[in-house]
């Protein structure tokens, strides 16, 4: 991962941006599916009722919080791995 030239950096950067966009779309559609599944299963009304709206907003909020927490643990683990690469190489 060492020594990418400036133009290589730029190419990588633009690929990463495209990838991030794709990631975000994936996350969004996942979250919609998940919160819909978890919160909505009554179809006696046409639009979301208050209970469902509340559930969806809690669902999103909780997902974000969980995502952040997992992200922290993940980063810690990555950092730890950098310091001591697994044996057997």
């Amino acid at each position: 991962m060492d020594s990418l030239t400036a133009s290589e950096q730029r190419e990588l950067q633009s690929r990463m941006e495209r990838k991030q966009m794709k990631e975000f779309m994936g996350m969004f559609s996942n979250l919609v599916t998940h919160c819909f599944d978890s919160c909505v299963d009554d179809f006696t009304t046409k639009s979301l009722v208050q209970r469902e709206t509340g559930c969806v907003s809690r669902c999103v909020k909780k997902f974000m919080a969980g995502s952040e927490r997992i992200g922290t643990r993940f980063q810690e683990q990555q950092a730890q791995m950098m310091n001591q690469p697994p044996p057997g190489r």
Binding site: M1, L4, T5, E8, E11, L12, R15, M16, K19, E23, C35, D37, S38, C39, C55, S57, R58, C59, K61, K62, F63, A65, G66, S67, R69, I70, G71, R73, F74, Q77, Q78, M81, M82, P85, P86, G88, R89
Partner: protein, 99 residues
């Protein structure tokens, strides 16, 4: 790993380097997504009575993440052992981190 998409580039090593960096990013992103899916599924009940992560759920996530990494390491070890047993472990690419 060379020349996988060798469309006559002026500097093949350049595109290779970018591809390697990209692949590593992919691996990390994928790992994170898998971890998140697994631990959210196991630790966050689907009832959404509250929007915050409560204490129990938080602890569950922490432990889940730790165990997920343990399993990752364990599986990688087992696969490596398997490959070694099958003869001449030619640096099987199952090691995590550090490519």
């Amino acid at each position: 790993m060379s020349g996988m998409f060798g469309f006559g580039r002026p500097q093949p090593s350049s595109s290779e380097k970018i591809a390697a960096a990209e692949q590593e990013m992919d691996l990390i992103t994928d790992m994170f997504n898998k971890l998140q899916q697994a631990c959210m599924k196991k630790c966050i009940p689907k009832t959404y009575l509250e929007g915050e992560i409560n204490k129990g759920e938080g602890v569950c996530i922490d432990r889940c993440a730790a165990k997920f990494f343990d399993v990752q390491l364990k599986v990688s070890e087992l696969l490596q052992a398997e490959a070694a047993a099958k003869g001449g472990a030619q640096g099987g690419g199952f090691g995590i981190g550090g490519m």
